[in-house]
Amino acid sequence: MTSGQLFASAGIGLLVIGIWALVLRRHLIRKILALNVMSSGVFLLLVGAGAMSGAGVDPVPQAMVITGIVVSISATALGLALVLRIAKTTGRALLPENRGQPPSDPGAG
C-alpha cells in the first residue's frame, strides 16, 4: 500500500464516520463537527488519490483542496452563527423535528 492509498483510505474512514454522526447526532454543534470531519475526509481522499500515481502529488486536487478548506471554514462559521441564533431563539440547539424530544439522551447526543 502506497502512502497515497493510506491517506485516501483514512479519508474514506473519516468521511464515513462524519456521515454517521451527521445523521445520528441531534445537537447542531455535533452536526457541524460531523460536517467538518466529513470535509477533512474528502480533502484527505482527494490529495491522497492525487498522490497515488507515483509521479509526485497532482497539483490540481491540491488546489481544489485549498479552495475547499476555505469554503469549509466559511460554511462552519455561518453554521455556528445560525446555531447560536437558533439556541438564542428557541433555547435549544436542535432541529425543529427534534425539539419535542426529551432533552437528555446522552447516547443520541
Partner: protein, 228 residues
C-alpha cells in the same frame, strides 16, 4: 408503541440502514482506490503549461490561472458567508473578563511578526508553498489576537476598513477578470506580458479580503457596538 425508537434519530432501523449504506459507500470508494490508474493525472499537463502561467509553484498556477474560476467563486462564497453571518445580528462581546497579562504580552511580541510572515508567504507563493490563503490566515490570526487581547470595551476592529477589505478581493478579482476582456482576451484570460503582475494584484487583494473575512466571521456578527 413509539415509532421513533425504530425510525427516529438514533432508532435502530435507521442505524442499520445507514450502516449498510455507508458500508457500500466505503467499499465502493476503497475499490476505486485499488483499481489500476487509468489516467496519469494532470501533473504533467500542469508542468508543461507552467512557464506560461506567471507562477513557478504549480499549486499557485492552478489556483489563480488554470482554474481561476474556482478561486473567483471561492472569494464569492467567502463574501457571501460573511454577509450571512453579519446579517444575523451585531457582534457579540467576545469576552467578559480582562485578558490575561500573558496574552497581552504575547500579542505585543508577536505583533510585528505577523505582517512579516504574511508578506513573506504572499511573495513566496509564486514559487514555493504559500500564497494568498496562507498569508490571509496569518493576518486574520493577528486580528483575532487583537480582538482577544484588547481591554474590555477597548479597541475593536475598525468597521469601515473591515467592510472595504472584505469585498476588495472579489472586487479586484472581478475587475481583472473583466478588464482583460477589453484587450480582446476571454474572461479570466490574462495577457502573457502582464500575467505575473495581475496575479500579484489579485493575490494581494485576496489576502486582505481573506484576512478581513476570517476576522469578521470570528466576530460572529456586524462590527460596531454590540446589542447587549
Amino acid at each position: 408503541m413509539d415509532n421513533r425508537r425504530y425510525f427516529g434519530p438514533g432508532g435502530w432501523v435507521l442505524r442499520v440502514l445507514l450502516a449498510a449504506a455507508l458500508a457500500v459507500v466505503g467499499a465502493g470508494l476503497g475499490l476505486a482506490l485499488t483499481a489500476p490508474a487509468g489516467d496519469p493525472g494532470l501533473t504533467a499537463g500542469v508542468r508543461a503549461a507552467l512557464p506560461a502561467s506567471g507562477a513557478g509553484n504549480p499549486v499557485t498556477a492552478v489556483l489563480l490561472n488554470f482554474r481561476g474560476y474556482d478561486t473567483l467563486l471561492e472569494m464569492a462564497v467567502l463574501t457571501a458567508a460573511l454577509a450571512g453571518v453579519w446579517s444575523l445580528g451585531r457582534a457579540h462581546r467576545t469576552r467578559f473578563i480582562r485578558p490575561s497579562p500573558v496574552l497581552t504580552a504575547l500579542t505585543r511580541v508577536l505583533a510585528p511578526l505577523f505582517p512579516l510572515v504574511c508578506g513573506y508567504l504572499l511573495w513566496a507563493g509564486a514559487d514555493h508553498p504559500g500564497g494568498a490563503f496562507q498569508a490571509g490566515a496569518v493576518l486574520a490570526t493577528a486580528a483575532v489576537l487583537h480582538v482577544l487581547s484588547a481591554p474590555e470595551r477597548g479597541p475593536r476592529l475598525p468597521e469601515l476598513p473591515l467592510r472595504l477589505a472584505a469585498v476588495a478581493g472579489l472586487a479586484v478579482f472581478l475587475a481583472v477578470a473583466l478588464g482583460v476582456m477589453t484587450g480582446g482576451a476571454r474572461f479570466l484570460e490574462y495577457p502573457p506580458a502582464l500575467v505575473k503582475w495581475l496575479m500579484l494584484a489579485i493575490e494581494t487583494a485576496a489576502m486582505l479580503s481573506i484576512a478581513a473575512i476570517l476576522a469578521g466571521l470570528f466576530l460572529g456578527g456586524r462590527p460596531g457596538q454590540p446589542d447587549d
